[in-house]
């Protein structure tokens, strides 16, 4: 099992698996990678045990053990991982039951219930030509001294309880509405998220079906200063908006704070708000993977250092005795 020929065969299988996954991992069976990696792991384990060229050389042994460790950690990471998305409206708390596109390993034990933070306002810079720049998303997290403000965005995720929350290009506006049913009962308050902005600035529309009455359709007319000619900052807290409401044959334009009586009740457009889309990532192995990989490379470097110090490549040809170095010293 420890045969070098099998190692090469395993590497060839892994190369084929990687090539099949090229740019399309979601559409490729994971087994094209799992089988060669499993095969190579067994081959490596046998080689570490039986091959004195590995187990009698400290650096090389460390490197190969770390390779084995990386495969095992990556496998464990896949079994316990979580990938998901969520959209958070400004002023609302993270809700573990409000996740989208959830993909998780069979051994994932969710710790999302212990995560508590509230979405604040955000800004996104754009260069001319609508090229997205830095995102600054403010979140509030509880601490011993009250709520603490944190600025997250792009490569600065919010990390809580091992879960990493990354801002995404997917963000936009929301309208905060209240609804008082015509037949009496309690007023309800909620938000309707509009499509991502500025990606879909031309169709900021959505709809809502109240329990009473007809479906209500909304269009949001925004004044954000959007331009692709100059640098521009998307700052929802500074945007102006009017909400066009259509229900049945009735059509009305509302400003913030205004209301309209519809067939099923009274709708109030309380204010404009915003939402931010987050990618959620959890993998308990990533720090271990990093350290294992670094230790492995240092093991390999230490092994190569021994080889580099061997003089077998030092030139013995006649020429080198007479060639002066270019710094003027004589090389002997």
């Amino acid at each position: 099992m420890s045969s070098p020929r099998l190692t090469l065969f395993g590497m060839a299988m892994l190369a084929v698996g990687a090539a099949l996954s090229y740019d399309n991992p979601a559409g490729t069976s994971v087994w094209v990678l799992v089988v060669p990696m499993g095969f190579l792991s067994l081959n490596l384990l046998a080689a570490v045990i039986h091959n004195p060229r590995i187990h009698q050389r400290g650096g090389l042994l460390v490197f190969h053990l770390c390779l084995l460790g990386i495969v095992l950690l990556a496998a464990f990471g896949r079994l316990t991982r979580l990938d998901a998305h969520t959209e958070l409206v400004e002023g609302t708390a993270f809700d573990k039951d409000n996740l989208l596109d959830v993909r998780q390993g069979p051994l994932h034990r969710t710790g999302l219930g212990r995560i508590e933070f509230v979405q604040g306002p955000y800004t996104v810079d754009y260069a001319p030509g609508m090229v997205r720049g830095l995102t600054h998303s403010e979140v509030l997290i509880p601490s011993a001294h009250g709520w603490r403000h944190l600025d997250v965005g792009d490569d600065r995720p919010l990390v809580m309880n091992g879960y990493r929350f990354y801002t995404t290009f997917n963000k936009g506006f929301a309208v905060v509405l209240s609804w008082l049913p015509a037949g009496g009962g309690n007023s309800i308050r909620g938000t309707v998220n509009m499509p991502a902005y500025p990606l879909y600035d031309f169709r900021q529309a959505n709809r809502w079906q109240p329990r009473e009455g007809e479906e209500i359709r909304f269009w949001l007319e925004l004044e954000t200063g959007l331009t692709d000619q100059h640098a521009w900052t998307l700052a929802p807290s500074k945007a102006q908006a009017e909400l066009i409401v259509k229900s049945g044959e009735q059509r009305v334009v509302l400003g913030p704070g205004q209301h309209v009586r519809l067939a099923g009740g009274v709708l109030t457009f309380e204010r404009l708000s915003s939402w931010m889309g987050y990618k959620i990532f959890y993998d308990p192995t990533i720090n271990w993977l990093f350290f294992t990989a670094i230790i492995g490379v240092f093991g390999l470097a230490s092994h190569f250092w021994q080889k580099l110090r061997q003089p077998d490549w030092q030139p013995t040809a006649k020429r080198d005795r007479i060639v002066e170095s270019l710094s003027g010293r004589t090389v002997t």
């Binding site: 090469l8 060839a12 792009d154 993998d283 990093f290 190569f304 490549w313």
Partner: protein, 282 residues
């Protein structure tokens, strides 16, 4: 775009001219080596060294000038990547040329190989590139730096591999007669490939950390990641074969050339073939 505003271009052209001088004298030296005594070539080697050194310094100036002009380092557009690669390849090869006299005749292979990039950049637009938000990360520097060392050490190894292949032809043997025998050249070439392997590994690690910060995943089999991993696997397999079996120096040299070509295509092909996140501007 208004090319008059690309103030780094004069420095770039001057750097290329210096590389051209070094290349001409490397070829001249190889030609003369067929008949001249080795010690008479020292003046020639000094010109190659000084030309390459001047080229490096001028390219460093060009990069700095562009950096000031557009506000970010050479990490985004193909123009920037090639300009910085010309510089980093030049730095490592010039140091190797200076410190290891036995590999100097390989300049006749290495410098013309660098001219693939030197000619390519002449056809590229130096227009300012937008700096993606995910590039504001220190791990990007580590990733790019390790990658440059990987490619540069591969290039030095490739130069030596080229010597092994070219001197198999009787007409070209004289070019490299000042160099040691095949076994020693082969050993030196593979030591550079071992260094390349270490830096390739570090590049993958730093890239994974950057990807985790930038896109919320450390590995996603995007075009550049996959090509890079295949390159690492290929180099690892070649090192395995060479340390396990008896491989003739010329066959091993051929493997080095294949690895370098694959690395070259990974660097300058994959990121611009794919629309995946690794392309940068998202």
């Amino acid at each position: 775009m208004n090319e008059n505003l690309a103030s780094e271009l004069p420095w770039l052209y001057a750097g290329l001219a210096a590389y051209a001088l070094a290349t001409v004298f490397a070829v001249k030296g190889a030609w003369q080596a067929q008949v001249a005594a080795p010690q008479t070539l020292l003046g020639n080697e000094r010109v190659v060294f000084l030309g390459a050194l001047a080229g490096v310094l001028l390219l460093v100036t060009a990069i700095a000038e562009r950096w000031v002009r557009i506000g970010h380092g050479p990490f985004v557009s193909l123009f920037e990547l090639i300009m910085s690669q010309l510089c980093s390849l030049g730095i490592v090869y010039t140091i190797a040329y200076w410190r290891l006299p036995m590999l100097r005749p390989s300049a006749v292979i290495v410098l013309p190989a660098m001219w693939i990039l030197g000619l390519w950049i002449l056809f590229l637009d130096p227009v300012a590139s937008p700096y993606p938000p995910t590039y504001h990360n220190k791990w990007l520097w580590a990733h790019v730096g390790f990658g440059k060392f990987f490619l540069a050490f591969s290039l030095v190894g490739t130069g030596l591999a080229g010597v092994l292949l070219l001197r198999a032809h009787s007409r070209l043997q004289g070019w490299f007669r000042a160099m040691p025998d095949d076994m020693q050249v082969d050993a030196l070439a593979w030591r550079f490939m071992l260094l390349a392997f270490i830096f390739h590994s570090l590049m993958l690690i730093a890239g994974a950390v950057w990807a985790q910060d930038a896109w919320g995943r450390y590995w996603a089999w995007d075009a550049l990641e996959t090509s890079s991993f295949l390159n690492w696997l290929l180099l690892g397999a070649a090192i395995h074969v060479r340390t396990t079996y008896r491989v003739a120096p010329r066959h091993a040299a051929l493997a080095i050339i294949v690895i370098f070509v694959f690395a070259f295509l990974t660097y300058f092909g994959a990121p611009f073939y794919s629309e995946a996140a690794h392309k940068g501007v998202i």
